[in-house]
Symmetry: C2
Subunit: 681 residues, 2 copies
């Protein structure tokens, strides 16, 4: 990393082992209604230091994380005019760099508004990019693989509530994390870490010279960030490696976040959960209770339409299944009043977060769940009226405490209220942090949907266990637009920022959508299992209906077994857009789990189990695509094999088109050894 | 009142005793992104009805209010296109009319956004108008008296935080309540009643044809009102009389508001209060505790600058004085952390509403106040971050309950957060109502400052006892811009909507401003006393410092005596811009109080005491301008006379330039009669 001032203007550049990664790129800011903070600088101080420590994440992919970097802190001062100061701090890791701006307290600068952040990332060539459009309100697009020079976001119909002018004004802007592959086979990931009190960064693509520049999300007035000195920006991050697997195992983003602000974290637990959810997504039942809130019965109550999913009897069925099958949690969407008119109309007041629908008995359901050992997961959909949720946070969390909810799934579907704010703007970024903090005060874990994409804040707020903030598994049902390669790209992009509640585990892969029987998922069943390993999340959903699991209880065994929190993770092989194979060791256990997935092309691979403990024997339960499986024509064909393996074993995997393999590895008992004698090679 | 459809377009007009008041004026709406709701209408139903009842306000100017009107409800339906429905309801009172639009539930209209309300008030001539500029964020202007054709708001420097483009885009728009006087001596007041879930209306003045049209306050995106059918607009009100006094005694606005939504109102009490306030306004002490929050002492605390007003010792002095002098309440501003950087910088997070400054001991102060029989009044200045206040309302009101605060003064100085919202927009209108409701839940009375001007909601929320929302007495200290006529206009304009916390009672009228010794108030001392009667408010401040009252304890006796809640009110004489004389009877007592004020011109008048009880004798204590008094050259010269009077008495009053007279009338005791024998005429 080289920092320099050229004619008063700050620049940085980045090489890896002598090979250029980022060419000289500008740093600085344009401010609103005052002189820009981008030139006439001289260096007044420069400090180098080094840091090396190991820290233990509360929940994570590995037991211990090494945070090892050299840092360079540069203090700049204007040589003319107001002689304002600006600091830039770089942290150089083995697998990339992070840098941020710091705004020190000073006489001539206190409050100001950022109109433009000038940070650039000037690429060395027309790299291959895996990108989604730079929408201020959504990350739920499928990825396009193209050269940088071919980026054109307006080919997409807009997904967020709004229109292109409001939500995607820049035709050439893409979301981060952006993953790139250069002609000389370097993998580069550009994102940010610790997005706090700032607006999210998109990257504007200059197709002519392959430069990328920061594009901050504005508020209703076009202002990007409101700043008070004594503060700093998020870290701008660049991961680089010649190994795709190193990008996936990088802990740079987490290391650039602050340590946990929650002292006692003993109540933060990983969990698998089911939900009154997929039946809503597929149209079997509905979130709302009545067809019209304008007509009420003589007793003053709404007229029920009789296909409300979150009714007490139905919820109990889920509780029974979860309880019988070792799933710890249950999410119920549509439990509360307000789903008749909850989004799309830009209401300020919609949900009150405490009133159940008439057929959902909060006490009865929670008593029954407790009796069956099931943790209920609260659902707080906001319809994007964050203003309303803010006002009712205290009340909402008090209800959760009263009824012993330890986790909440939040949602922000629609156009944000306050009107004109965006999901990715500073105001909402602060909102999400407030929710996470408030949840921590109430000892509640949070899983946010339709929030800004994460930036490693799960280190600082370990109760912020997951986000969706990307195109989840349900899009395989909503649309035909999610390609089988999608899950091979997500870990390189969306998941670089943090865990994703992707909602895997759909077993009935065709003919599930009530209104659109032709709809189908874009994976095989075995791949759905493998996603539990490849898509990291400490909250992991078993997303399908109980009856669909009952039809395949042998395959469901993997979901029962698979862990959600890990002592170790090995990225065995990976190529964005093509395949990923990951092995993980369950926290506090000898068990390992392997997930291997492929894109639309079938794939054969052989993986060494050299990560296993020496001298120990394991039973490998292999959930594989059947010979004739194919995501499109025969998705539900799978086979399950049990084999005895050890550290020397090599497993040959055959993945179907759009397929995958899931493997559980457990220490072999004497009984196992006996029963498997014949099959062992 | 005449309503008619002309070529499908709805119009109304108004006459009084055959004399035209409002010529044919348009009704309807322009909607965003859909067809306007303004034409192709036919009448599908029409209902007439009458109403007559008496109701008792919780706090008020009179004991009982008669609500007597005829109503006409017109149901309109489009004859073409979507055949949408719109209802218009008129209520016709003796002293004017109110009308509103109702949006019934219907198939082709549910959620919509109002771009423009077309309501017009076409005047019959170039009336004299008493107006302030149509600023979306402030009503704190002094009044201009001009012909309608001469209205030009841009002559004013902008007062609200912002600029003309943002806050006063229409050069010819004025605030309501607007009072007009026609060439044929009709007094007309145009305003609105029950402003709920809608944005406040300004009036655009067409100087050429004397038509006024509704000008609604927009949000950050330029949208005026977000509507869901099954709702209605506020009432548009027109008061008309040939007697100026009838405008002041009208109860039309209150009658158009809903009855109290608070069941038990026993805790709502009128009150006089003092405040650690004027010393802050005049620069003697300061709200903030430290000069800089960027430098802290080794113990982590701020460095105090030693002129923080709200320190425990100083507050106790106020408590002592108030307790000794029969004042019930004490407001303390600057008690809490955050005043160093609280407004002007558009911060989202500023105050937390619970943390006192280090030198203000919440427990000690409140214990001391309780011991001395003083009610502490909470102060919640928001710096206009209503978003932040909304989030902390629960916490703020819980603190009030814990420390036994029964009233709170709120404030909204600055540019509103959410960024781009306005003080007078729908979002803030909803905010104020939320605060009033939350306060009621906690049994706290509210006095709002810098809120939207009131529209009679103190009937519906009787705990919402007062607002400032206009140019208060402190502007006589801030500026030289408030003329002595100001208080003769306010009751015709700002106070038509509801009580005003005008903060009268300044006794030291010159040489009070620490930094600007030349500053002076624009009234005499006697006029300051008279304002307690002419400026109605159930919360009434004794605004000056204890030492200034101690210097004139004989005059202070009137403030001790004067009531704040009334069984009866007689508007004796009034002319906007010139003079007002009002007599009021204390609630549940035989005492009467009279206030007479004049503008910059001295004035002699004689008032009959024919409102007194027959056969009873009263002692009149008359607080009058001294012979040589003059607001500019000799403001503090007053004289106090005590005379025996009865129903037949006529008192001759002589008011100095910018002067006034205050009179208390109490039943005469035997001792009184003896001691006054010689003076009685």
């Amino acid at each position: 990393m080289i920092f320099q001032i050229k004619n008063g203007v700050p620049f940085y550049s980045l090489t890896r082992k002598g090979i250029p990664v980022i060419k000289d790129s500008r740093l600085g800011f344009i401010l609103k209604d005052r002189a820009a903070l981008d030139k006439d600088f001289s260096i007044i101080d420069m400090k180098e230091s080094a840091f090396d420590e190991n820290w233990t994440p509360v929940l994570g992919e590995v037991k211990s994380i090494r945070n090892n970097y050299k840092s360079l802190a540069i203090a700049l001062k204007e040589t003319t005019g107001e002689k304002r100061k600006l600091n830039i701090v770089f942290k150089v890791f083995n697998d990339g760099i992070g840098f941020r701006y710091e705004f020190p307290n000073q006489p001539n600068l206190k409050y100001f508004i950022i109109s433009t952040e000038l940070t650039a990332f000037n690429l060395t060539g027309d790299h291959k990019a895996f990108w989604i459009p730079g929408d201020y309100d959504s990350n739920e697009y499928h990825y396009t693989t193209s050269k940088i020079s071919e980026v054109d976001t307006w080919q997409f119909p807009i997904i967020s509530m709004g229109n292109k002018i409001d939500n995607m004004p820049d035709q050439y802007s893409v979301q981060t994390p952006l993953v790139l592959k250069s002609a000389n086979d370097l993998y580069i990931n550009i994102h940010e870490a610790a997005l706090v009190n700032y607006s999210a960064m998109q990257l504007h693509v200059n197709r002519a010279d392959f430069s990328l520049t920061a594009n901050l999300t504005p508020d209703a007035l076009g202002n990007k960030v409101y700043v008070r000195t004594g503060s700093h920006t998020p870290w701008r991050t660049i991961l680089v490696s010649d190994q795709a697997t190193e990008i996936l195992s990088s802990k740079l983003i987490l290391n650039l976040n602050e340590p946990s602000k929650i002292e006692n974290t003993s109540w933060i637990k990983p969990m698998k959960f089911m939900g009154v959810w997929w039946e809503l997504q597929t149209g079997i039942s509905s979130w709302n209770y009545t067809s019209s809130i304008d007509s009420v019965m003589p007793n003053g109550q709404y007229v029920p339409h009789k296909h409300h999913g979150a009714n007490t009897a139905n919820v109990k069925k889920y509780i029974d299944f979860a309880s019988q099958n070792g799933i710890q949690g249950l999410l119920v969407e549509g439990w509360n009043k307000g789903w008749e008119e909850w989004t799309g109309e830009w209401q300020d007041e919609n949900f009150n977060y405490v009133t159940p629908n008439p057929d959902f008995d909060l006490t009865e359901v929670n008593d029954y769940a407790e009796q069956k050992g099931i943790q209920m997961i609260m659902h707080n959909e906001t319809g994007a009226s964050a203003a309303n949720y803010d006002r009712r946070l205290d009340t909402a969390f008090r209800l959760m405490n009263k009824f012993n909810y330890h986790a909440v799934k939040t949602g922000y579907v629609g156009k944000i209220t306050p009107h004109g704010e965006h999901h990715d703007g500073q105001w909402m970024v602060n909102h999400y942090e407030r929710v996470a903090k408030k949840a921590a005060q109430h000892r509640v874990m949070v899983d946010m949907h339709e929030s800004v994409r994460p930036t490693g804040l799960n280190r600082t707020y370990p109760n912020w266990v997951a986000d969706k903030a990307g195109r989840g598994n349900e899009w395989n049902s909503f649309s035909d637009g999610t390609t089988p390669e999608h899950e091979t790209i997500m870990p390189f992009t969306r998941l670089i920022g943090g865990p994703m509640d992707y909602t895997p585990g759909i077993f009935k892969l065709r003919n599930y959508a009530k209104e659109i029987p032709a709809r189908q998922m874009h994976t095989t069943l075995a791949k759905q299992l493998a996603l539990y390993v490849t898509m990291y999340s400490p909250l992991q959903m078993a997303a399908d209906l109980p009856e669909n699991y009952s039809a395949h209880l042998d395959a469901f065994q993997f979901i029962k077994d698979v862990a959600t929190d890990w002592d170790d993770t090995k990225i065995i092989e990976a190529e964005p857009g093509d395949y990923i194979t990951i092995a993980r060791k369950e926290k506090g256990s000898d068990n390992w789990f392997v997930g291997a997935i492929t894109d639309e092309n079938k794939r054969s691979t052989a993986i060494s189990l050299n990560f296993l403990d020496k001298g120990k024997k394991y039973i490998a339960s292999i959930y594989a695509d059947a010979e004739n499986a194919d995501w499109k024509s025969n998705p539900e064909a799978y086979k399950i094999e049990r084999v005895l393996v050890n550290i020397s074993s090599v497993l040959k995997l055959k993945l179907a088109n759009g397929g995958g393999t899931a493997i559980s590895l457990k220490l072999a008992s004497t009984d196992d050894l006996k029963s498997l004698k014949k099959q062992t090679k």
